[in-house]
Structures are given as C-alpha cells and as structure tokens.
C-alpha cells in the first residue's frame, strides 16, 4: 500500500530520501524554502500546507534550523502525523535533542530519529546500506521500513531515542578528532584508543541524560564512526584535517565546505559534564586544540599522561 510521504528540507539527505521513497512507489512531496527541481514523480513545494495530508514526514534540515522548521511544521501537523528527523545536532546548553524540540513546538508525538552509517548518495542510488531508527512507536518503524527499506536499506530500531540522537550528534565531533589525529600522523593503535575511549566519554554523559550505553556501541555510535573513518567523505573529515594543518577554526570550517555541528556539540557536552562533575578529557583537549589554546604534541602528551585505570 502506497504511503503519502513528506520530506522537509532539500539538502543532500532530503533529496535522497525523496528519491528513495518515490522509487519504492510512494507518493512524495518535498518541501523547501526555495523552489527546487527534482525528477518526477517527486512533487516539490514551497507551501508548508502542501504536506498536511501526508502520513509520514521526514524532517531533513540541519540542527540549527530545527527550531524554525518545527515552528513552521507546528502550523500544519496534528496527532495523525508520524515524523522522523535526520539531524545530527543538539540545541543549547541543556543539550535539547531534535525530537524534544519537535515535541515542544508541534503537537506531533509519534516521533523518531533516523541515524547510523546512512549516506545520502547510497540512499539515493539504492546501494546496500543500514540505519538505526530510535523511536518508541513500532508503527513508525514499520512505516519507515516500508518507505525506505526493502532489500536496499536495513533499518534497525531501538526505543532509546535520546541515545540515538546523542550518539549521532557526538559522532560528528569524534570524526573531527580522528581526522585531526590521522593528519598529524598518529598510528592505528592511538586512533583506536581515541575512538573507543571517546565513545565511552560521550556515552557516560549520554547516560546522565537517560541514554543507554549499548546505543553508543551500536549503529548510531560506533557503527556511524566506522563509516566516517572508512571514508564516506564527510565534511567533518575535511575539517579535522584542515585544523591539523594549522588552519584556524573559521578557515577550517570554510575549507570543509559545510556547516559542522560537531565542535558546538563538544562544547555543549563539556559544559553539561562540568555541571555534573564528570571528566571529559578527550572533548576538553579537542576544544582547546580547535581554539588554538594547545598544540597537537601537548594534546597527545596531556592525554597520555592521564591516570590509567580499569576499562
């Protein structure tokens, strides 16, 4: 049975989801602020009311636009709609997640977060891939699988929505850290320690917000990080490399060619950890590096000199 699907946001991911859904025979409307052309049968619109009759909505906008977009959606959605977002960021010092923003700004309650090693190109072209959907609503999982799944995309699910959102947001930052480390020439062993201990660090913070540890070691966390390091050409990799070559943060962001939320996420998480008295050696060191307050040699030395204990 064909679904009526709305995609909100016409970035790389928005377009890929629209194409994948249309390929599976669903009726798709893509909303964006500016006029867009997409191959038929995807319909495009700049009128937010055009999505009103859809059953399933994918929100595919950067986290910094989440509040504004949610407010617009708030004018048209109601209790019948099911919504999934694909943003990677967190909002403000309270580390508000995107589903929390949507719940605050709209009356949509059947919400989910799609994350993991999902790549826009693979999704658009139908290459085999996998993702994780965080939602408490089994009917939403069913619908997303019907919209995007099949033999091309394996959509796993977990009720740990906040875990998926936190893991997904922090993978961006860890990717920058690993790219930086690779560029300054650290070996595979050090990279592995950075990746694993970095994930433990963010998972510890995540647990204070209600996330489950296992989500960070699953597709939303380590799975996504492996894809990033294996070379799916994310802008975070370019940012990390540019920083390692001595670029300032603003010029490195320019070089990366995209807005990257990882650095902001790291600073927000550090602030949260400080309030709770948690240690965040990797995040703190990296923020100091990115702000030019520390050299890479000092950073590695500072991390290596820390007291070592049981894993």
């Amino acid at each position: 049975m064909s679904l009526r699907i709305a995609v909100v946001g016409a970035g790389g991911f928005g377009r890929a989801i629209a194409q994948a859904s249309a390929r599976h025979g669903h009726e798709v409307v893509l909303w964006s602020r500016r006029d867009r052309e997409l191959p038929a049968p995807v319909r495009t619109s700049t009128d937010i009311h055009s999505i009103k009759d859809c059953e399933l909505i994918f929100m595919a906008v950067p986290a910094r636009h989440a509040i504004e977009t949610s407010e617009q959606l708030g004018e048209v959605v109601d209790g019948r709609h099911l919504m999934v977002h694909i943003s990677r960021g967190l909002i403000g010092p309270e580390l508000e997640t995107i589903t929390q923003v949507i719940a605050r700004k709209t009356v949509c309650r059947r919400l989910g977060a799609l994350a993991g090693p999902l790549v826009a190109d693979a999704l658009a072209e139908g290459r085999p891939s996998g993702a994780i959907l965080g939602t408490g609503f089994p009917e939403l999982t069913e619908m997303v699988r019907e919209a995007l799944g099949g033999s091309e995309l394996r959509v796993y699910d977990t009720p740990d929505v906040i875990g998926v959102e936190l893991a997904s947001a922090t993978v961006g930052f860890l990717t920058v850290v690993l790219a930086y480390a690779q560029e300054v020439g650290v070996g595979p062993s050090t990279l592995a320690v950075l990746a694993t201990r970095g994930m433990v660090e963010v998972s510890r913070i995540g647990q204070t917000l209600g996330a489950e540890e296992s989500t960070f070691t699953g597709l939303a966390g380590l799975g996504d990080l492996i894809a990033a390091v294996a070379g799916d050409e994310r802008p975070e990799i370019r940012l990390g490399r540019a920083l390692a070559r001595g670029a300032t943060l603003s010029s490195a962001v320019g070089e990366a060619g995209a807005y990257i939320e990882g650095i902001e996420v790291a600073a927000q998480m550090m602030e949260h950890a400080r309030r709770l008295g948690l240690e965040t050696p990797i995040s703190s060191t990296f923020v100091a590096l990115s702000e030019g307050r520390m050299s890479s040699d000092d950073a590695i030395q500072a991390l290596m000199e820390r007291r070592v204990g049981r894993e």
Binding site: G79, A103, T106, V107, G136, R274, L276, G277
Partner: protein
Amino acid sequence: MLKRFLSERPLRLPHIRPYVPRPSDPSIFWFNSERDDVVADVVNRVCASQESDRTRLEMALNDAAFHEIRRLEKQRDEEARDRLGYWRSMIRRIGKMDDIEQRRVLHTIVTNMARDIAGNFDPRVYRFARKAAPRLIGGVMEPRRLTEGLVDGSPMSLDRVLRVEGDLDHLRNLQNRGSLVFVPTHSSNLDSIVLSQALETSGLPPVIYGAGKNLFTNPIISFFMHNLGAYRVDRRIQVGLYKQVLKLYSQVMIERGYHSLFFPGGTRSRSGMIEHQLKLGLLGSAVAAFTTNQVRRVDRPVWFVPTTINYALVLEAETLIKDWLTEEGQARYIIEDDEFSRIDRWFAFFRKMVGMRGGCIIRFGEPIDPFGNAVDAEGQSLTPTGRSIDPGGYVEHRGKAVADPARDAAYTRELGEVLARRYQQDTVVMSTQVVAHVLYRDLVQSTPGMDLFARMRLRGEVAVDRETLHRELGEARDRLFALEGRGRFRTSEVVKEDSPEQLLERALTFWSGYHDSTAATREGDRIVIGDPSLLLYYQNRLVPFAEDIAGPEHLKAACEIEQLGVYR
C-alpha cells in the same frame, strides 16, 4: 485478626432505601449501581486476554500460585493459614486441569481480585465527611474552636493551613465534559486527605483513588476511605494478574467517566525531591481509557491535572529521609511504622501547622490531554500556538482509529516526561525549603570532599553566622524570584513577603519541637546545624535549581547538590 478483617471487609452502612442519584450529582454517585457491572467488565477483559492460548493461561495461573505461595510463606499470618493450602493444592493441579477447568479457576481468581480491589461510594458518608472533615481537622488543630463550631454550627476554616492555587474555573468547566485524572506529587500519607479537602473546598468533584491496603487497618480511616470510593491496592501481591486487574479497574472507571486520582510517583518521595521518574502503570490505564473510548467511538475525553502538594512541614520527613539514606530503604516499599500511624504525631503536626501561616499549598496545574497538549475551556486540545486539534488523531493509523498497546505505552512514557517537567514548574517553593537549602549549601561548602553519609553525621558541628545567613537568604530569594519569573517554579506567598530574617525565624519555628531531632537551632549570633538529614530532606525540593540559585561563591557546592538528582 481485626486488622485483616478491616482491610478485607471494610464496614458499610446498611441501606434502608437505595439512593437514587440526581442528574446534578457527580459521576461517582452512580458508582454503587454500576459496581457489579464494572467488576464483570474487568474480569471479562482480563480473562479474554489470558485465555487466547493454553500456554499463556497456564503461565498466568502458575505465576499467580508461585507468587502467592512465596508471599504467604513469608507472611506466616492468619491469611497465610487460610489461603496457603488453596494455592499449594492449585499449583500441583494446574498441569492436570483441562481447558475448561483452567478457565474456571482463572475466572475465580480474577473475580476475587477485582472484588477485593473495588471500592464503595455511600452518599451519606460523603455528605457527613463534607461537613465533618474540616471541623475534625480544625478541631485537632484548635480544640477550643471545635466546641464553638459545634455550638453555633459555623464552618471551621482551613484556609490558614491549606491554600489552593490554580485555575479552578477551568477545571470546574471541564468536570462535566470528560474524565479528570488528578496526578499529584506524593510526599505524605496525608496527601489524599488534604487533596480530597482541597477538591471539596474548590467545588471540584470527588474522585476515586487507589489506597494501600495497609491504610485500611485503621477502622476510622478504613470506613471513610472505603465508602468514599477508594479502591484497595495490596502492594505485597506481586502476581502479574493482580497488576492487570488493578490497571483495568482504573481504566474501566475512567472510561466510564469517573474522575480519578493517582500518584504517578508510586510511593511517597523518600528523598523529598520532586518526582522525576514516574511509575507508568496507572498512568497507562488512563491513556488506554482514552484510546479505548476513541476506538469504540465514545466521545469522552480524558484530561490530566498535574498537581503539586507542597508542605512547609512534612509529617513523616524523618522516617522518609532515613529510609532514603539506607540501602535497605531503597527496597522498603511499604512503611507501616512511620509517623502516619502515630496519632500523637498527627496532633503535634497539625498544631504546628495551624500556628504558622502557609503550611500547605495545593496547586492544580493547567490540565492537559493524554498527549501533553493544553486544553481550552471547552476541552479542545490546543497546539502551542493555540490552534485546536482533534486528539482522536493520535489513535489513528492510516486514517482509522485502532487499538495498539505498544503505541499507547509509548504515549504513556512521553506523558510521564511531560508530567515530570510540569511538577517542577508547578512546585511551590516553601519557606523551610529555602532556609534548608541555603544552610545545607553552607554545610557542603564548609566540608569539601566529604561524602553525603559523612556529612549526615555532622550533628551540631557546623554553624553559620546569622548575619551571613540573612545575606545568603536574601540573595537566594532574589534569584528564586528571577527563576520564578522565567516559569521554572513558583514561590509561596510567605517566601515572597517575608524578609530574610522573618524567613529564617519562620523555618526555625516550624522545625522546633515537631521532629524528634531539630534541623537547625539558634545559638547566640549563630545558627547551628542540628540534624543534617532533615536539612537534606527539606532542601532536596530545590535540587534541580541549585546551580541557578547560587552566586559565584557557592557554585561548587551547588553543583555538588545538583548531582544528588542525577545519581539517585
């Protein structure tokens, strides 16, 4: 023997003529004529859900027998002597029973459970309680005025002790349009009594609520609670079927339009903190009541009323905090030997409360639908920008209203999170909590690196200069007002009006002479911390806001206090 009799068969008044409710009577006046029907409805639904296959049915019977045998073997009382034999014999026979026999046994067990849970409502008792309760409570507080009230018939005012806040007109508007579910915070066993009184004085309808079976052992309380619609909850019973019957009883009552009350915290807050991890069982029953009515096309909305009960002095504070501080306490669910069971403590408590203004504030928050949306005067669900929507849409799947327990469970979890946030926003900060917080923060500040339990042993060892304390109280109060302005919580009238000096005096007077130990006392120009655990209890209400209340010099101590809310 008597205890068991009272808890299993509470007294009822004989009926000479059956009471015929008037159309203007609250829905609960119809309950007695519907009770058998309610019990039958609950039994049929539970049995239907278990009889779908033999394995499930056998599992349910085995689970019931196993848990009941375990409970009764531990209890070793009259009930154990009566019932243990039945369960032991049954568990041996389950495997040999045919389908019909298994269903018959299930039906008997479930019927007994449902009958045991179901309450009663007697309009005569209700009318008597309406008139007598304020006078009795008032009499306990001021015995001299009891006789005056009896002589001239004037009602005794509880206004000095109990203050009710919130948009009462809104709630009165909604009471005839759907089912109201009051979901308060829980600090004391007095909560259901003061809340019933608050509903009565506010012109709000009487409610049904679940009360622990242990409370039915007192003959007077048992008589009133049973005849005013309270249903009995035996927390000792761990049987899955019993929990299902309990939830369905609550669900069926809400479906039928009875206004309800339950404490989503499950049990009294041991720490004194605002509840943030809620038990979802009964909450889920109210959500299920709404969705079931929708699927059956019955237009009877359900609205939740987040309610906070705020005390300047908590009857059972000492037992509760002691319980929280001990490992055993974490698992000790039913306390039977606390201050609530001692009538002398009731007297001491009420006397103390009536002597002081602003002892208890009940705040009814803005009602919400089962999905956390605000509702207008007509009961329409609203979006954050004020557009009205149909809440029936939440149970639709591809255009059709459908039953889906997994979906409802997810809605319930989200509702629990909304309520936890609303509890913070609707908490009314009381004088004793502010003073306790500032004093406890000074204690933390002066004992860096010391753990919680070591601090609890510092009785009479830490003192704060009175002038310094006045200054700190003044600063904390200014920050509290700023936070109140941002909607984080509310402060009591007393906190607003008192000077820091008066605030301190008020709290010290509240504490002195009621609890066995004293939270803090005056010694010349110093305030000496007496029992840090009492301070901890009262200040715990402010844990989520500690950092925002602190100035730079107390930030470290405040961060440490805020962590109490994360790890416990």
